[in-house]
Amino acid sequence: MSPAQSPFELFGIDALLTEEERDIRSAVKTVVDSQIRPHIAQWYESGELPARELAKELGKVGLLGMHLEGYGCAGTSSTAYGIACLELEAGDSGVRSLVSVQGSLAMFAIHHFGSDEQKDAWLPRMATGEAIGCFGLTEPDFGSNPAGMRTRARRDGDDWVLDGTKMWITNGSIADVAVVWANTDEEEGSRGIRGFVVPTSTPGFSAPKITGKMSLRASVTSELVLDGVRLPASAMLPTARGLGGPLSCLTEARFGIIFGALGAARDCLETAISYAGARQVFDRPIAGFQLTQAKLADMSLELGKGMLLALHLGRAKDEGRLQPEQVSLGKLNNVRESIAIARECRTILGANGISGEYPVMRHAANLESVLTYEGTSEVHQLVIGQALTGVSAFRG
């Protein structure tokens, strides 16, 4: 028997990575193995994540806003950021979500659209994990169609006063700062959407935690209630106008998910392969059954293809030529295939597959959220469909 290879070894993925990317990967692996894996089953079960302490540990390594320049950020390539997301999500999608929202949504919005004062006030503390950020776009009645948002920002003298409700906001209850999107001018429609940097200590702001989640349990998800939140004029992100602002942040975070989802899938597949080698049924390891091997082969193929796509898109991003519809290709394919892999691996583990003793069911359940947030699969199909046909089908 020849020595066993992992799916990524089979694809020769290492040869496609630079030495720096491999070093970053092993640095993240070390963090995941020492700080996340030993606790994750318990965090998931209890639905409690020690997010503040964890954020500081992640900040120490440089995971928060890692691909941003300056302000204490490491300034890595986008591909390296993707690889870090993959390793984090091999730990848990919830932990990766904390990092995605902090770095690619909240920090990216301030870094990209913020004033110097906003950047100086928040970015260095967010890079170390001392301050946590959230990103409020989705509302109870507006998810896939954020253009219709009801949250309003009203001018009062020089101040802005925000009223409305945001829903499903990752990190909401633990955030020190919320980047909140609100409409400043109903007549203008979605062109009136502007971003605000809201310290969560501002009177009128509250963020009750959403409980009873069956997915992404090791992640804080909240409602944001804005009840006459009064902000100075300087709280507005000066250069983000219209829906393009928040959407460009989402493109950043989605890019990370293209890699991230594969991490969850890889962890499931590695678990299933090792389980199949050890578990004896009908007097032999289930790894020796052709049906099991067919499953493993097919899953490895999708995992490897997904990684090739991710790396291809990563290189395109680093060369500044990645288009949003290409990000949709990656997000749609890699999350869809990852959840299929997680579910198939679940079958290989039999009853143990549903147990929290193994990571597979947790990953599968987490990926349900990943399938929905950052643009649902259907929305990405519509983006791709529009790119192919030139016809927008969003309104039916």
Binding site: D23, I24, A27, V61, G62, A74
Partner: protein
């Protein structure tokens, strides 16, 4: 304060470690290697000292091409520069020869205020190189430090023994070996990883150090591995069936094995 830290590239203890069939030396090529974990404590301690004051941390290794990985890790953690002594003639060197090469390398680096090493390597686990090195450099040796502080021109360490903890003071320059109790080594950060690429790594051969090839290597070694046999596979554990006397049987087993 300028500090030199000696670091070793060792086979990963997690992987299957073996000897070379041809000359009974440790196989460093066929298995994954890394910076000896015990040396991470030495690097961390040096970084802490320099961060608290000023100066430079230089890491030095004697080893094959792949040993550059150990230096890279130390640079990623934050060391300022690195020296890699490599020469085919060094292959198979014992502790005596290794300490000679290290001593000459440290002399060439300059005169550090402090030389720090790990308490042992995770492959050879002999703990003798620090002592030999101190002797060759004519430095006071304070070994197995579980706590270290610098006060002007002295270094004070705590060495924990079975019966007592000793506090030992030496004048600088000195050589200190540190235990795994002394600190919590940092992970390389992304900034560290990116900065390491730009840090200087010097490569020296024996000729650069004025060491003659006949003084090192397998031929010059004072001791040699004559033969080796693989550890026999683990035997099946013993299952004690509890017929109401399980506790007694367990106690008897622990007693027979001298665990209690």
């Amino acid at each position: 304060m300028n500090i030199v830290v000696c670091v070793k590239y060792v086979p990963d203890a997690q992987s299957d470690r073996t000897f070379n069939e041809s000359d009974n030396t440790t196989d460093r090529v066929g298995v994954d290697g890394l910076l000896s974990e015990l040396d991470e404590y030495a690097v961390e301690e040096a970084l802490k000292l320099v961060e608290a004051g000023e100066g430079e941390v230089t890491v030095v290794t004697v080893g094959p091409d792949q040993a550059a990985d150990a230096l890279k890790k130390a640079l990623q953690m934050g060391a300022d520069k690195a020296v890699h002594v490599k020469d085919d003639a060094i292959h198979g060197s014992d502790a005596v020869a290794t300490s000679l090469v290290l001593a000459e390398a440290i002399k060439k680096i300059g005169s550090p205020d402090l030389v720090i090493t790990g308490m042992a390597s995770t492959d050879g686990t002999m703990s003798v190189v620090p002592a030999m090195l101190a002797e060759r450099l004519g430095l006071p040796q304070v070994t197995f430090a579980s706590e270290l502080s610098i006060d002007g021109s002295t270094v004070t360490i705590r060495r924990d023994g079975d019966a007592a903890s000793e506090t030992i003071v030496a004048t600088l320059p000195a050589l200190v070996s540190v235990t795994d109790q002394i600190n919590e080594p940092r992970f390389p950060s992304f900034k560290g990883i990116m900065a390491a690429k730009k840090k200087p790594v010097e490569e020296w051969a024996l000729a650069d150090l004025g060491v003659d090839a006949s003084q090192v290597g397998l031929e010059a070694a004072w001791s040699k591995v004559e033969s080796f046999t693989k550890r026999p596979p683990r035997e099946q554990g013993q299952i004690v069936t509890d017929d109401g006397d399980g506790g007694t049987k367990l106690a008897e087993f622990l007693y027979a094995q001298k665990f209690v």
